[in-house]
């Protein structure tokens, strides 16, 4: 038996964060405003990102699904936050393992080319810059 082939929002976050360069500190901002804004802005360009449903009730578009995905990744040991003020998500090697073991195949099965993910990551990651 294998786990389900359905592509979850969590899988897309793994795929995008897998593209964080492996040189230097692999981290992205944990600032919700920045995170949600970045994913929201690129939904029009990448149809697969419409899996994140956004609500425009507050001062910035917020997606409960995106919040849950980051929370799940952190709780599963693929991301971590450090320091007393955990302003960043650090990408751990386990995230790459998860990508290689499950997500890569699942993206293919769902008709999403790896190039498309890399393209999306190239556009999203600069917006998640921790500097």
């Amino acid at each position: 038996m294998t786990s389900t082939n359905t592509l979850y929002p969590d899988d897309l976050v793994i795929a995008i964060l897998h593209a964080v360069p492996k040189t230097g500190e692999r981290r992205v901002t944990a600032d919700r405003r920045q995170l949600h804004q970045a994913f929201f802005e690129l939904r029009g360009d990448f149809p697969f990102l419409t899996t994140f449903c956004f609500r425009n009730k507050g001062y910035f578009p917020e997606s409960e699904t995106l919040d849950q995905a980051f929370s799940n990744l952190e709780a599963s040991g693929l991301l971590e936050r450090r320091n007393e003020t955990p302003k960043y998500y650090y990408v751990l090697n386990q995230l790459d393992r998860s990508f290689d073991l499950y997500i890569k195949k699942r993206l293919e099965e769902n008709g999403i080319a790896e190039e498309a993910i890399i393209h999306a990551a190239e556009m999203i990651l600069p917006k998640l810059s921790s500097e």
Binding site: Y8, T50, G58, Y59, E64, Q68, S71, L101
Partner: protein, 519 residues
């Protein structure tokens, strides 16, 4: 103020949804005979939590509608009362409490601004109180538990899905807004306006209030964002009542300094074109921190208590059985979100009487009623899984807690595999894989604090309270497999095997120990 009609897509599905709402409101509003003598004086209701709550005469008339009285039959905290016996309060009590908190917030802000005239005029306040009265009329039986089912019904997805006019809104809020926009309700409110205009100059505006309930800014509403935030914002009247009321009735001693919160509320000009917004004074942010921590505590201690989750799984089991094997319940197919409006808590339990004593639905409903609840067969958490296996496999299981339409199907498939591996010892609807979602914590990111210089700072920039809350919540997380007591051991063994193989995980002895599975 101008009246703004919410923009709704014209589609057949939406039309049938609205027709179903009209049918419902026809029963719960139109069939109500207006009083021979309309209430002509204010009324005082004594609330166990807030004490005296004053109602205007027209609010007494609205409160008497079967549509609002129906909320007496819907428990605020679903099945929590089976674990915390005091938690028996209804959506009706909560509705009155939200009206009271609305009044308090508005009075506090007007008190602050009284030098330059009231920010909230009496017309706005009356409409905000109407929003409070109607904000939960869309709830079905056991509040959020039925909502967790009907939010994925196709008619609701048309509205709250990606292309919907109410994208990502809470399903019950959409239902409440649509009820308010239905013709029978609008007719009644028009009658109320006519009745009280001469004496009070009353002008209730259902279209505008419907937008407030879902937190939607209509065109031109940017200037009045602070008004909407009283009823749908980071520290809105709804939150102030439910956190206090749920904690109080559950016996959870939480601290929430409401006096200080009211005193620290103010309205400021947003700095990025948001118009006027509700803000807090610098130095008075503690009440918001208390709100966040109280909310997290309520989730981890009360709402997500394993016994509460088990009872809720039983409710889902009844709905699934009724839908798939009986064509519905009480004449409703349960295929549509609006079907759930007809079932209140008492009607749900009464449904048992429709079936013979040995009918599975009769037994399943009575098992909930008489607290013969499911037990845990397996506990799923970071500490119950072999650390070598934890990463990177655990995410494959954990992600099934996402609130997306297909996660229910995937969890049910896991439960089915467990049931089959155990030799089908009971009904499939009695085996549940439960993976709770996190409580939403966006309040701090949406609260601005006015600094002595007059500048506004986001609460998060001053103090990252949401990180604490999130971490606390993440480390408290537990998933479970639930089943009837008599099958606990066989299901525990099957669950370990099925989940282990499917997700490449090895459960340690704590997985059974925490679930109280005997050796």
């Amino acid at each position: 103020m101008t009246s703004i009609q919410p923009a709704l897509p014209a589609s057949a599905d939406l039309a049938s949804f609205q027709r179903a709402i009209e049918t419902f409101t026809a029963e719960f509003v139109s069939c109500y005979t207006p009083p021979i003598r309309w209430p002509d004086r204010p009324k005082i209701i004594h609330d166990a939590l807030w004490g005296t709550i004053r109602l205007y005469p027209w609010e007494v008339a609205i409160l008497d509608l079967p549509l609002v009285q129906r909320l007496r039959q819907i428990r605020q905290t679903s099945m929590v009362n089976y674990v915390f016996p005091g938690s028996n309060h209804s959506r009706f009590e909560h509705t009155l409490g939200v009206m009271h908190q609305t009044q308090k917030l508005v009075e506090a802000i007007n008190g602050e601004f009284n030098q330059g005239g009231d920010l909230f005029d009496h017309h706005t306040l009356r409409n905000l109180r109407l929003a409070a009265l109607f904000h939960d009329v869309g709830h079905g039986c056991f509040s959020h538990i039925s909502e967790s089912i009907y939010q994925y019904c196709p008619d609701m997805q048309v509205l709250i899905g990606n292309e919907g006019a109410y994208q990502s809104c809470n399903a019950h809020e959409v239902m409440s807004a649509q009820i308010l926009l239905s013709q029978p309700v609008k007719n009644f409110i028009s009658l109320v306006n006519d009745q009280y205009f001469a004496q009070y100059g009353l002008r209730l505006e259902p279209e505008r209030v419907a937008n407030w309930i879902i937190g939607k800014l209509g065109p031109g509403d940017n200037d009045i964002r602070y008004i909407i935030q009283v009823i749908n914002g980071p520290f809105d009247a709804d939150k102030l009542d439910y956190i206090f009321r749920d904690a109080h009735n559950s016996g959870l001693p939480l601290t929430l300094d409401l006096e200080r919160l009211w005193a620290s509320c103010t309205v400021s000009n947003g700095q990025h074109g948001e118009g006027k917004i509700l803000t807090l004074h610098r130095g008075s942010t503690a009440p918001l921190e208390q709100i966040l921590f109280s909310k997290i505590n309520l989730f981890s201690i009360v709402y997500q208590h394993p016994k509460v989750r088990a009872a809720e799984a039983m409710f889902q089991g009844v709905i699934e059985y009724a839908k798939t094997k009986e064509g519905g319940i009480k004449g409703k197919s349960l295929e549509y979100a609006t079907d759930f409006l007809s079932i209140t808590d008492d009607r749900f339990f009464a449904a048992a009487l429709w079936y013979a004593d040995d009918h599975p639905l009769h037994k399943m409903i009575h098992d909930i009623l008489y607290r013969r609840h499911f037990v845990r067969a397996l506990t799923i958490s970071k500490e119950t899984i072999d650390p070598d296996d934890h990463e990177p496999h655990f995410i494959e299981l954990r992600r099934l807690n996402q609130k997306v339409p297909y996660s229910y199907r995937d969890r049910r498939q896991c439960a089915k595999d467990i049931w089959e591996a155990a030799g089908q010892p009971c009904l499939l609807e009695q085996i549940w894989l439960d993976l709770p979602s996190d409580p939403p914590i966006g309040e701090a990111d949406n609260t601005f604090v006015s600094m002595p210089s007059g500048a506004l700072k986001c609460m998060t920039d001053l103090f990252p309270v949401q990180y604490w809350a999130k971490l606390y919540s993440a480390h408290k997380w537990r998933g479970h497999v639930f089943c009837p007591l008599q099958h606990q051991q066989v299901i525990a063994t099957a669950a370990e095997k099925v989940l282990g193989e499917r997700f490449h995980l090895r459960f340690n002895p704590l997985a059974r120990e925490l679930a109280h599975v005997p050796h």
